[in-house]
Structures are given as C-alpha cells and as structure tokens.
C-alpha cells in the first residue's frame, strides 16, 4: 500500500526552487499517435487492418504481413508483469532526480509485451491494468497499475508524476461568477486542494451564489478580471507564485453569427474574454507556473482551458463565439509549446452547450455545471490532457477526428434544404 503524501509545509525561502527537468521528449511521428490517445487516457496499440496483428512499438508497417494499414486502436489493458527492475542510475536528469524508478515488462492479455512504468503496489509477477498518460514531457507513456484499486494509490510517486491531482495543491478558478466556476470551486475543495482561489471581476456587482461560494472550505476570493490587464497582473503578482492548477472558467458566450449582429461590439467582448483574457492569464500566470513545474508535492502541474467543442468546427448559431473559441484553442496550442519545458500540462476540456442562460432555449443534452466540474476534476486526478465533456462534445470531437471536412459540411448545412 502506498504511503499517503502529507500536506507540504511552507516553502523554505532560502532554497532555490528546483528547476523542471524532463523525461525524454523525442518521439517518432508514428509514436505520436500513442501520445494523442494517451492525452485522452485511451490505451491504444497499432492494429493491422489487413491481418489483425497488434504491434508495439509504433511501426510504419505490419511486421506480420507488411501491410501499411496500421491504426491505433483501443485494446484490453489487462496484463501480467513478467519482469521488472528498479532503476537506480540513469543518464537522464529527470529520472536521476527521482530514483529509484520501477519499470518492467508487461505481457498484455492482448498478446503483446510492452515496457512500462510500474506502480509501487503491483506485486512481482502480478496482474496489472495498463494506463496510457502523457508524462512531464507531454509524451505518451504506459504505466501498469494494480489490477484492483488499493488505498492511496494515487499518491504513488511515479503515478503522481503523470497526474495533476488537486490534493494538497493550490487552485485558481479565474471566474467565480458563473455556476461553472462555483461548481469547480466546490469540486476542487472536495478533491483536497490546499487553497481554492476564486477570481471575481467587478465586485461592485453582486451575483447569485456569492454567499455559497464564499462558504466553501478553503475558498479565497481574489479580485481578477481577465479583460483587465492590470487586474490580471496584480492578481498574478499576489498569488502567481502559489498557483499549482489554473482553471480558466472565464467565458463569454453569446448567440449569433455575423450578419445578424451588424457590428463587432459583442464579438469584441467575446474576444476580450475568450482570447485576450486567456492570453492575459497566460502572460500573467504562465511564467510563474512554468518555473514551478518541479516544485515538490505542490508543484505547478496543470492549466485547464474550458473550450467550447465548437472551437473545432464552427456552429453558426453561435458563430462568433465559436470563432473566439477557435482562437482560444489555437492560443492553447501555442501555450502548450511554450509550457513544454516545464512539465505543466495544458489541459483542453471541450464541452458542448452548458445548462446556462445562453443555451437556455437549446434542446438537451446539455452539460450541467456539476458534471463539467466532476469531469475536470477527474481529468486532473487521472492526468488527462484532452477531454470532451458531455454527449455533444464527445460526438462532435469524434466526427471531427473522423473527418473535419465532413463535420464542417454537417454543421453548416441549412436545415430543411
């Protein structure tokens, strides 16, 4: 059984912050397919379309029939540990700093043996279930977990390197005015976060749920307005050094496309929040988090972007908001690259229409704030980087992956024509 990690003490101001180092980051282009699946938490191997053989590591052609048609496919993650080692010396600085390190060979029930990280609670020669996650380099790796959950297993040192567990960490929720922000504050508090900072813009405007928000354990309200550069800078100056997880809940969603609007005023508001607001947060909080990617138990570990799934492909009745979300997604990609050296995960949580005032006339299914909060918490605890929340988001993302061109045609089709 894993020893539970203790709440870290206050930081010693005389000791230099440990600089982030990374596990090996280079992967072949084919292997990136594994990383894409791992970012979603899917355990995939390449399967040959022609002869059905499963193969690993990533190949260009099937080693059984030389077919070029290999595709990443979800496979049964069950297996057995058949050999293991505890590595005590490494040429890589990241692992050197984290020795000893358990790794081993797992024979999957699916018929392939793989090299993997091994959870401390896996018994020698024991049965395991595999997970695929991105590591601090943002690249997909496998880890073997005990077949059944054991107590404190999330606290395993090697597993915690792959996850962004809020436990003992300090979270900033950038906008507490929305139900989503409030639900997330509650979820983070419930997940054991040390402090839940909640940003509030324009405190001269009260709102429903304010008292309930303030009553949540470990919540601290901070002035933060993502449309105001000074406000973001001041907030980052005050708490930026202790934000381990940032969840950007500031969103500006309005129905409407282009010609129905006649002007760009509302669109500019959307961009102010969804794009420039995000950029201000990145400029304000990014550098501090990037420097603290290896800062002990409560290192900076995750940056969560809540994105409309229509960032992937425009939904014309929310056309302008979709465009601003697409801009935010593009910015998030740039941010991922800029944060890559830090080990801080940039999590994109795509959601479909929310149960909120702006989607009120839309038919179900819609995503309730509680569900969104639950799934974001789950993603952090599991260490996922790309999640789709709700049936609509799952559906749109699946179609987008299948054929982005067809999805565009579907979404822009005139009804009844």
């Amino acid at each position: 059984m894993t020893d539970p990690i203790r709440k870290p003490g206050r930081k010693n101001p005389q000791i230099r912050t440990v600089q982030p180092t990374l596990p090996p980051a280079f992967r072949s282009r084919k292997a990136l397919g594994f990383t894409v699946a791992a970012a979603e938490g899917r355990f995939c191997l390449q399967r040959c379309d022609d002869c059905g053989k499963l193969t690993y590591p990533a190949r260009e052609a099937c080693p059984a029939c030389l077919s070029m048609n290999l595709h990443w496919q979800d496979v049964d993650p069950a297996g057995q540990l058949i050999a293991e080692t505890t590595i005590r010396t490494s040429t890589n600085s990241y692992f050197r700093e984290r020795m000893p390190w358990r790794s081993g060979t797992v024979m999957l029930d699916a018929g392939v043996s793989v090299l993997a990280h091994i959870h401390g609670d896996v018994a020698p020669q024991g049965r395991v279930r595999m997970i695929a996650r991105t590591d601090k380099s943002g690249k997909g790796v496998m880890m073997a977990l005990p077949e059944e959950d054991v107590e404190n297993m999330a606290d395993d040192k090697q597993l915690r390197e792959l996850t962004c567990d809020p436990k003992h960490r300090r979270v900033l929720i950038t906008d507490g005015r929305t139900e989503v922000g409030q639900a997330l504050a509650k979820a983070m508090s419930g997940a054991g976060a040390g402090i839940v900072f909640v940003g509030l813009a324009e405190q001269w405007r009260g709102f429903a749920g304010q008292a309930a928000l303030e009553a949540i354990a470990n919540v601290e309200i901070v002035p933060l307005d993502v449309t105001n550069t000074t406000s973001v800078q001041e907030c980052a100056g005050e708490i930026g050094g202790k934000v381990d997880i940032l969840i950007n809940t500031a969103q500006h969603t309005r129905p409407g496309g282009i010609m129905g609007r006649r002007d760009v005023v509302t669109s500019r508001d959307e961009m102010e929040v969804n794009y420039f607001g995000l950029m201000r947060l990145m400029q304000g909080f990014g550098p501090g988090m990037r420097a603290r990617g290896a800062d002990g138990v409560n290192s900076a570990c995750a940056w969560v972007n809540l994105l409309s799934v229509y960032a992937l492909s425009n939904k014309p009745d929310f056309g302008s908001t979709s465009a601003s979300q697409a801009a935010a997604l593009s910015l998030a990609q740039c941010f991922r690259a800029e944060m890559a050296g830090s080990g801080v995960k940039v999590v994109n949580a795509y959601h479909g229409p929310l149960e909120d005032e702006w989607h009120q006339p839309l038919p179900p299914p819609k995503v309730s704030p509680n569900r969104l909060a639950r799934e974001v918490r789950g993603a952090l605890q599991q260490g996922l980087e790309d999640i789709a929340i709700g049936e609509v988001a799952l559906d749109v993302r699946m179609r987008w992956k299948e054929d982005a061109g067809v999805l565009e045609k579907e979404l822009t089709q005139i009804e009844g024509m």
């Binding site: 690993y56 050999a83 080692t85 040429t91 890589n92 692992f95 060979t105 024979m107």
Partner: protein, 398 residues
C-alpha cells in the same frame, strides 16, 4: 523446383590474421576517427603492408557521425574496391569476418581490413543512448532512461525467475573474467574481484549490480581477412574460419528474450565446422552482462536451455580452467569501447589461435568459438552471430 536449402560453402583459401587492440581509455577527447585510424595504422604496419594494399575495408562505430565507412576512406587515404559499414554493435566482429571472408573468397577483395572503434567523451554515452534507435526513443528510453542496464536487468530478472539462476552464478562469470583480465595488461579493470565483493556491490538496476555492468570507454580493435596465399607470402600467422552464423530479430514473438538467434542456427554452426562443442579450447562470448554469456553457453549448444546456471557452477571459467571463457577479461573487465566491444572477443581469439596471446594464452589452443550479440533496438538484442575458428597448425590454407 529449386532446392532452397543448399549447403553453405566453406571458407577455403581465406584466413584471418593480425589481431590489433588499441588500449582502451575511460574518457578521451579524441573522436572515433582517431581511434579507427590508429587501429588501421597498426594493422597495416603489423602486416608489413602499405595502405594502398588494403583493397577491402569494413568499419563499425557508433560515434563516427556524421561520417560512415565512406567518409573514412577519404579521411584515411584508402582506395578500396570493396567497402562495408557494419552497424551491428556486439555482432559486428563476427559479421565483419564472414562478410570479408566471402568477399575475399569470391575475389572481390584480397586484403580486407576490419576495423571497429569508438570515442568516449564525458557526455557521449548519454547522447548515444538517447538517440540509439527509433524503438528505444519511442518505447524504452522514456521509461527511466536506465539504458542497457535497465533492459538487461529485465532479461536477467526474467531469466533468474524462469531458470533459477542466482546472482552467485553470474558472479562466478564476472569474477573469473576479472581473474583473466589481471593477465591482460590493457584491461581497464585490474583490481582483484572476489565473489563477495561482486555480491556486495551497489545495485544499479535490480537485479543488475555494479559488477554486472561494463564500463563505457574509448578504444579500437582490428584484424585482417585475406587470401591465405598472400598471408603466407607475408609470413603472417593465420587462423582458419571453420564456420560462421548470423541471425537478426530471432524469435520476435517471445514476450521477453531468454534465447538469442544462435539457438536457431547452432546445428548448422557445428555441422559446418565439423567439430563438436567438447573439442573447443576456449569460448569468447559477448558479455555486456553475465546473463547474456550464460544464454550463449546454452544457445551455442554447450549446454541445454536452462542448464546455464549448472553449467557455470560445474566449470572453471579462467584461462587455466576447464572451460576458458573470455580470456582477456571480456568487456566486463577490459571495458566496452562501443562497437569495438563487438570485436574484442574475436581479436582475442585470433591472438589465442596464433599463439600470440602472451599472458592470457590458453595452452595448446586449437579450436575457439567467438560469438557476438548486438543492438538493444527496443527490449532485446537483435543481432547475433558466431564463428568457429581453428589454429592454422600447418601454415596451410584453411
């Protein structure tokens, strides 16, 4: 229909000669080109040739980048009519020998210089590991970056559980090699090693401990493969090649490696050689880790699969013992000079069979076996090879 299984030809009229070892160093600033040039120079001078007499050339090196054998011809002023670059790590020696032998036999070359060498800079081992192979980059280096220590730790762990080998069994191999190395002045590790010291050493990647590991270093090894008649004209001491095998990616469906390609080809090895294992006077295995040597005892036919531990317990592996093994100390005690490690056993075997092994000489050595093993491309060694060699007692062609 054609007969797909024609019998392989022997190596008539071809000999190996002039074993050259450039003493290893832990770190030097010199590049691979320097080491390869030194070995080639010693080879030419040792044979009494001019560089222009070399008309065939093979090169093995990990650290020659961005050059290959091609660049080296211009760099070293060679104009060969037959050239090969053999990037097979621990199997390079045997593979160079058999490629060169066929080239000479077929008349494509008369005198082939087979050279291997590598540099060792302060950071070159890390650099090499991190870019060793695509599979390693994609699927093994990210899992702790333990390098070959971790990969072989897994094979060792599995082998120990499956066949009951103990650390003491592997220790016996390492300790015997250290005793041999103390008679080979160029070995980097000369300090006496007891079994207790072996057992007490610090763990590196369990169950691999310090004395299971080779020390990366710089160095070079070389030999000639040439027409027997030319060797005779030059008055060189020569060795006959009785048989060779080579195999890559054997048993790909084994979940974890506990046998190498030799097991596929050992019958042919002995058939072609025309001798049996019991006639062999010494064995040079590729010993990047003791478990691999033990695997070679089995897979080359010296004992059955799984009997490696008992085989080792029952024998004395020192030069003067019942089963002289890795007579110069092997890589475990001499050091691992990159691709030159794949030549170490072969060059020592040539010394043994030409009676020039000095302190490590096995008395009356007539038959020797050399085997090679190379390239942990992902989770296992991919290349294997072996050769049965015989002393040329008559000075005749082989």
């Amino acid at each position: 229909m054609a007969d797909w299984d024609i019998k392989r030809q022997g190596y008539d009229g071809v000999v190996a000669a002039v074993p050259i070892s450039i003493p290893y160093q832990r770190f030097t600033p010199d590049p691979a080109h320097w080491w390869l040039a030194r070995a080639l120079g010693d080879l030419v001078r040792g044979a009494g040739l001019r560089p222009s007499d070399i008309d065939g050339f093979t090169v093995s090196s990990f650290t020659l980048f961005p050059d290959t054998a091609v660049g080296l011809t211009q760099h070293l002023g060679l104009t060969p009519r037959w050239l090969d670059h053999i990037p097979m790590g621990g199997a390079s020696g045997v593979v160079a020998l058999r490629r060169a032998a066929r080239a000479v036999q077929a008349g494509d070359a008369s005198i082939v210089a087979c050279v291997a060498g590598d540099a060792s800079h302060v950071d070159s081992f890390r650099t090499m590991l991190s870019s060793f192979s695509r599979f390693a980059q994609d699927a093994s280096y990210p899992y702790g970056s333990g390098g070959p220590n971790a990969s072989f730790a897994l094979l060792t762990d599995h082998y120990m559980r499956k066949y009951g080998a103990t650390r003491a069994d592997f220790g016996k191999i390492a300790v015997a090699q250290r005793a041999n190395a103390r008679r080979y002045p160029s070995a980097l590790m000369q300090r006496e090693l007891s079994l207790q010291q072996y057992l007490d050493a610090r763990p590196i990647s369990d169950p691999i401990h310090l004395f299971d590991c080779v020390m990366p270093c710089a160095g070079a090894e070389a030999f000639l493969v040439m027409r027997a008649d030319i060797a005779a004209d030059l008055g060189l001491k020569t060795v006959n090649i009785l048989s060779t095998i080579e195999r890559h990616n054997a048993y790909p469906n084994d979940p974890i490696q506990d046998r190498g390609g030799w097991a596929m080809d050992k019958d042919e090895l002995w058939d072609m050689a025309g001798i049996v294992p019991e006639q062999v006077d010494f064995l040079q295995t590729y010993d990047d880790y003791p478990v691999i040597s033990m695997m070679q005892f089995e897979d080359l036919g010296f004992c059955a699969k799984g009997e490696g531990p008992a085989f080792v317990r029952e024998r004395d592996l020192e030069i003067t013992g019942s089963f002289p093994h890795n007579t110069s100390g092997g890589q475990l005690s001499v050091g691992q000079a990159g691709a030159a490690g794949g030549f170490l056993g072969l060059v020592e075997a040539l010394r043994q069979l030409t009676g020039t092994a000095d302190g490590t000489q096995v008395k009356d050595a007539s038959y020797g076996v050399v085997s090679g093993f190379g390239m942990i491309n992902y989770d296992r060694g991919v290349c294997s090879g072996a050769a049965v060699l015989a002393a040329n007692v008559t000075g005749d062609t082989g």
